[in-house]
Symmetry: C2
Subunit: 331 residues, 2 copies
Amino acid sequence: MTIADLGEFGLIAAIASRLPRGDRTLVGIGDDAAVLATPDGRVVATMDVLVEGRHFRRDWSSATDIGGKAAAQSLADLAAMGAAPVALLVGFAAPGHLPIAWTEELFSGMAAESARAGATVAGGDVVSAGEITLAITALGDLAGRDPVTRAGARPGDVLAVAGVLGHAAAGYALLSAGLTEPASLIAAHRSPRPRYEAGLAAAALGATSMTDLSDGLVQDAGHLAEASGVLADIDPALLPQDPALAAAESALASADSAAGPAGRRPGGGVASGPLSWMLTGGEDHGLAATFPAGTSLPADWAVVGRIREGRGVWVDGQSFQGSAGWDHFRS
Amino acid sequence: MTIADLGEFGLIAAIASRLPRGDRTLVGIGDDAAVLATPDGRVVATMDVLVEGRHFRRDWSSATDIGGKAAAQSLADLAAMGAAPVALLVGFAAPGHLPIAWTEELFSGMAAESARAGATVAGGDVVSAGEITLAITALGDLAGRDPVTRAGARPGDVLAVAGVLGHAAAGYALLSAGLTEPASLIAAHRSPRPRYEAGLAAAALGATSMTDLSDGLVQDAGHLAEASGVLADIDPALLPQDPALAAAESALASADSAAGPAGRRPGGGVASGPLSWMLTGGEDHGLAATFPAGTSLPADWAVVGRIREGRGVWVDGQSFQGSAGWDHFRS
């Protein structure tokens, strides 16, 4: 059974039946627009677009995982502002021959990840298209807190991260090489689990700036530094010794030597080890934030550097050399 | 110069430079999320997705018109809830070879139509894709009014419309036949001009239900009737005698007879005359609403029928026969 068999309105009904209604949804699916309770009087809003073959692969990830990851990406943006997620709107473009079961699982995955974040799927649009494309808008409420932008970092602040670093990038490298272990890294690529509550905790603790880690630590710290007019000085010695990343490096090296010189993947070797994954790997959707020196950080947060006078990003005391991360039109 | 030449961040900067900042935008483009003032404490939110070749054609419409029409479609959904538009978020997926100038004009068109509605473009996402796809989320504020849903129509109410009927559909038929006159209908297809203020006026007047006319009067009145559990009884005698639609019918008939029998377009003839365009043509993004009998309606609004006990839609006293309008996966 395909989505063309159901038609637009049948498809909407099938999707809606999979989606629990939130108690902040005053008007939900089936009207011209949703109406959501955002009692703060300010709404935090972000949109992400994902395209099959560029942001996800149906042969690598289940529909549930793709939906969950897509939701996580937008919900993490809300957490990075210090906002509590309220609702998602989902635009879904797909060819008519797509199975309805895949589509239902996609939305179930989005609903499940939304529930982890305290939100629901409250509306959207479905249209016919040649490529599967997802557009997700996430809406959040500040509950009286100030938003934490990228622009407030000050010299002397510490730079800290919440969540894993480089796991999704290592998982991607493993999948690209046809490997399936370490399984935790494959799972990190397929279904990242942002720590939404760490964003709210950081806002409550007085974080001076915050962003989510979608493009890689160097590039995302660079966004904070640029917006704040400061230098982000990352100390690699503060990054974790991560056994899973070391295991991934070994697995890839074994696969490489088994394949022989002709089988070497471009971008293999030094450029794709644990340090590179942690510094430039995106898609973990952890958070980076700055705090005044001396702030007592909760267990979710680990210091990885310091903010200084200057501009840009340093790693180990010098300007970072090499590709900093992801550019949608250039990579 | 293409968008791939600029890259993701260059493209965002080029677009942002075209977009005025709204006074309700507390945090705008360049952070993880936008923060918007919605003092009502409820936010009205809607999303539409448009795909090149299915919702717009670059050889038929300028980038400015495509952007304006895309914005109008979502902004009209807010008006149909009785909400004042605040901001758009725009997801933009496109191939890297797309000219930057086209993209800038697209966003300028969205900004101009947003300004007509009292809103601004406050954020979004840009990604690389094979097809040009636009996802537009519109956010609005109720300013203390109750939202006007599709579900409140009651027997005895009048059914009224604001805005033109069938103009965009006639313009589409003309363009499909290679014709360029009447120009007002071509313009109605390329750049509809919803009467946003008519939606707010209807809400203030006590409209019992409302929707925007995106799928055609019969189908959209059917949505109201279904959600309200009533029958919508449209009286064709109340529809306007529209000289522009009559001129379009004549122009198409002349083109048909010049082409001879072999040149006849499928769907031509009776099914594509003024009455059909007014009853089943979508994309004008006018509004349909129901009001208690005896409500004194402002000039924007024209009564076209009555709400009765029952279910579904009648035209001229009987169930409507034929294709009611647009289904994205079936048409």
